[in-house]
């Protein structure tokens, strides 16, 4: 049987199933992006007026490089959030990754091996989370909160509570290719691959489906368990990568380096339109979220605002962004009811 066996029932009165112009989903995305882009630009302009050094090429490069670790993690977290998942253990994984990197470098292992070990170990830890979430049905929040504690402790134990310096290791992270730091290039590649995966493969559609309605996805034949395992593995791999990049940037394995990072990661992803309820969000949004976080932190210091205010400003922006999303959501559902 092919689909053409069904007699066509084209009704002249049937609407065209198409309106001109941008897709409604794209419009919704733009509603999220526009205010973020506005914040980034406005902060840039204001800070530059106050201190012209802010918008110089060198500073922009420094800003991006300083946030590459965060940026890489946000790509993984956005994938998870879209699929209705969450991983809070990334902060500790970055610490462990950094410590492991530094101690391996000090033992004289070649860079390639160190990087490979970190990536594979990260992916395996992610796979464990995925298995536990998919088959034991443990809520991701609790599970990865536990993971956060376990790996934080592990990092401290491995490093005997003090940073392990490795002045000559992993220098490639700080190196420049054509005037761009390698860390930034790596981040860009991760963004590109993440966006391809989420927005241009049918795997990505399955991720959205699992996040939007897991039961419906399962009954439609989506391999929900495998999707979850894949998401956690990808995120774990990226956390491993972020650990290496972090160690390379500071030139040491700091067992406390990733403390609190997981919250910034989630905040940036949610700023970018991802929802903790799943089924919503995009890679571009996540990147914009990181840029907002980066700009706020950096321009406040350029504006000589004490850095004790950083968290306050970020918190207010986050609450504002979520409130705006929530109200537009309510309006959208009401509109759908009217037309339906």
């Amino acid at each position: 049987m092919t689909t053409t066996d069904v007699p066509p029932e084209v009704d002249a009165a049937t609407p065209p199933l198409q309106r001109r112009g941008l897709s409604p989903l794209m419009r919704e995305h733009l509603r999220v992006y526009a205010p973020l882009a506005l914040i980034v630009v406005a902060l840039g302009v204001v800070t530059t007026v106050y201190n012209p050094a802010f918008l110089s090429g060198a500073n922009i490069g420094r800003l991006l490089a300083a946030n590459a670790v965060l940026g890489v993690l946000v790509v993984g977290q956005t994938l998870l959030l879209v699929g209705g998942q969450l991983d809070l253990s990334v902060g500790s994984l970055v610490s462990v990754g950094g410590v492991v990197t530094a101690s391996f470098v000090l033992h004289g292992l070649p860079t390639v091996v160190v990087v490979a070990v970190c990536l594979v170990a990260g992916a395996l830890i992610g796979l464990c989370w995925g298995l536990i979430v998919a088959y034991l049905k443990v809520p991701p929040f609790i599970l990865t909160l536990g993971g956060l504690a376990v790996f934080a402790s592990l990092a401290l134990t491995l490093a005997a509570s003090t940073p392990i310096p490795m002045p000559t290791g992993m220098t490639w992270v700080r190196a420049e290719v054509l005037g761009v730091r390698v860390a930034v290039i790596v981040w860009a590649l991760v963004i590109l691959l993440g966006a391809l995966l989420l927005h241009f493969t049918r795997f990505g559609r399955n991720v959205y489906a699992v996040g939007a309605n897991e039961e419906a996805a399962f009954l439609a034949g989506v391999p929900t368990a495998r999707i979850k395992m894949a998401l956690y593995s990808i995120n774990g791999l990226l956390a491993g990568l972020a650990g290496v990049m972090f160690a390379g940037r500071v030139g040491a394995g700091d067992p406390r380096g990733g403390v609190g990072l997981e919250l910034t990661v989630v905040a940036a992803a949610v700023l970018g339109g991802a929802s903790l309820a799943g089924g919503r969000g995009s890679i571009v949004g996540g990147v914009l979220g990181v840029l907002v976080v980066a700009m706020v932190t950096d321009s406040l210091s350029f504006l000589d605002v004490p850095d004790t205010y950083n968290q306050l400003v970020l918190g207010v922006i986050l609450i504002g962004a979520v409130a705006v999303t929530a109200t537009s959501e309510i309006r959208r559902i009401r509109a759908a009811r009217r037309t339906g």
Binding site: V10, L17, A217, L219, G221
Partner: protein
């Protein structure tokens, strides 16, 4: 007595009601019928004071009134909405007296007073519930009865019920009817809105048919039939009669699914079933009979505790493998188990395809194009396939779900109550689609308790009772009496 006289109402760009007159008499059940958009909801909004008519007047006991929601409440006009409005974490008693807790002489309210009042009210409508149980532990039907008790004990003069049976099972509907009848005996005028014309025939005394905002028929229910109502609602274009829809079939072909000695806990006790390509099999049976479980086992969504399942000659396994082999499942609860409500229509109709081939490229533009083609074939009515599927009517949502499986050339379709809460023209279209699929060689299983639906689509009907097959009837002979006799025999 509440009368609406020559009421008209327009919205920007649309005329919702034109010159409609209707009266609701105490002690009678008045059914409002009409397809979606015929003006039923506008009418009840006017009758309950939510909307003001552009012209015409409302009389209560002969006096013209101008209704606001507040006035309507004071006149004891109550509306029972489709969406449940109960406080889940509170007890039954608290919910029954919600917003008007009884007070003693000192103006204080106590748990004991509340429970006594709640018991009194429940008794009045003949509903038996434990007043101390939290509402969260009640079934949907029990919650509905609770709401009914609440509405009635506001000493309602007029009780408007909007699709009260939309989420109820047949035996629960019977219970609801009992309560409505009792309410009617208290001299309340009940306005009953339903898509299920058989319910209208069974329950109502008077009826009014609306079409395109006009009153096109009405009178005493005893003078009409379901077919008569359908004819009045749609003119001669839509029919739900077997002769107009079934259109015969081909000789059944190979075996699509074979069940042998299937057990599922205590729900199924040894079921044998052969499903062939080129036939539509209806599995009929109330909740608890095992019909729903059989559907889930056929589609791989549940695994039998004993017995064997073969799909197209191979042992059945997981839902995913079954889906990959072209076994479609369209669940009864579209919103919870079928749709991604906030995702675009085209993503919803592509989901089975996306699930089958996750490692291929995706293009939103091409997906939307495919969805437009599929949508036109099924007569999908949507202004843009890129809008969230939430905004579609039930009938159109169901078409999206059917399209989802036609897109992957599903050859075995399992549909659980496929037309619950769907308007009649969409029902007729869906039935015709199912017949066309059957003629094209698909094996179709419909789990249904709706007699009219069974008549329209069935080649044969399997009646389930208490987890076993109670009997089988050819579709042509499946009269309501025959089905009932088979299912009720013990």
């Amino acid at each position: 007595m509440i009368e609406l006289q020559n009421v008209s109402k327009s919205f920007p760009g649309a005329r919702a009601l034109t010159d409609v007159s209707v009266e609701f008499t105490p002690g009678r059940v008045h059914a409002l019928v009409g397809e979606n958009g015929a003006g039923k909801s506008t009418l009840i909004k006017i009758a309950s004071g939510v909307l003001q008519p552009d012209s015409g007047e409302i009389r209560v006991d002969g006096r013209p009134v101008r209704l606001t929601p507040r006035d309507a409440r004071e006149l004891h006009i109550r509306v029972l909405h489709q969406e449940r409005q109960v406080a889940l974490t509170r007890s039954v008693a608290d919910n029954v007296v919600l917003g008007e807790a009884p007070r003693n002489r000192l103006g204080l309210s106590g748990q004991w007073l509340v429970e006594r009042e709640a018991r009194r009210r429940l008794q009045r409508v003949g509903v038996e519930l434990d007043v101390r149980a939290p509402v969260a532990t009640l079934s949907v039907a029990q919650r509905q009865l609770l709401e009914l008790a609440r509405a009635v004990t506001f000493d309602a003069r007029c009780l408007i019920m909007d699709e009260p049976t939309a989420s109820l099972h047949p035996d629960e509907i019977g219970q609801l009817f009992e309560v409505v009848r009792r309410v009617r005996e208290h001299g309340v005028s009940v306005v009953y809105i339903s898509h299920h014309l058989s319910e209208v025939i069974a329950l109502a005394d008077d009826y009014t048919v609306l079409r395109d905002g006009r009153r096109v028929g009405g009178g005493l229910v005893e003078d009409t039939t379901t077919d008569g109502l359908v004819a009045q609602m749609f003119g001669s274009e839509v029919s739900l009669r077997r002769e107009d829809i079934h259109g015969g079939g081909t000789e059944p072909g190979d075996v699509a699914a074979r069940l042998r000695g299937v057990h599922f806990g205590r729900r199924l006790k040894g079921v044998d079933l052969d499903l062939r390509f080129g036939e539509t099999v209806v599995i009929n049976g109330p909740v608890g009979s095992g019909a729903a479980e059989l559907g889930r086992i056929l589609s791989g969504a549940a695994r039998p505790t004993a017995g064997s399942v073969e799909l197209m000659g191979k042992p059945g396994s997981t839902r995913r493998r079954a889906a990959m082999r072209g076994v479609a499942l369209i669940p009864a609860d579209r919103k919870r188990e079928g749709l991604l409500l906030d995702r675009p229509i085209h993503e919803n109709s592509e989901l089975a395809g996306d699930a089958a081939h996750p490692l291929t490229w995706y293009s939103a533009v091409r997906a939307a194009d495919r969805c437009r083609r599929g949508g036109r074939r099924l007569g999908l009515k949507a202004s843009d396939v890129r809008l969230a599927v939430r905004g579609l009517s039930g009938g159109n949502q169901q078409k999206v779900l059917i399209d989802r499986w036609l897109r992957v050339d599903a050859r075995v379709l399992v549909l659980d109550e496929p037309t619950v809460g769907i308007d009649i023209p969409s029902k007729a279209e869906i039935y015709r689609q199912l017949r066309a699929l059957t003629r094209a060689g698909a094996a179709v299983v419909v789990l249904s308790t709706e007699y009219q639906e069974i008549r329209c689509v069935a080649d044969r009907v399997i009646v389930m009772r208490d987890g076993v097959v109670a009997g089988e009837i050819p579709g042509v002979d499946a009269t309501e009496q025959a089905l009932f006799a088979l299912g009720a025999r013990s």
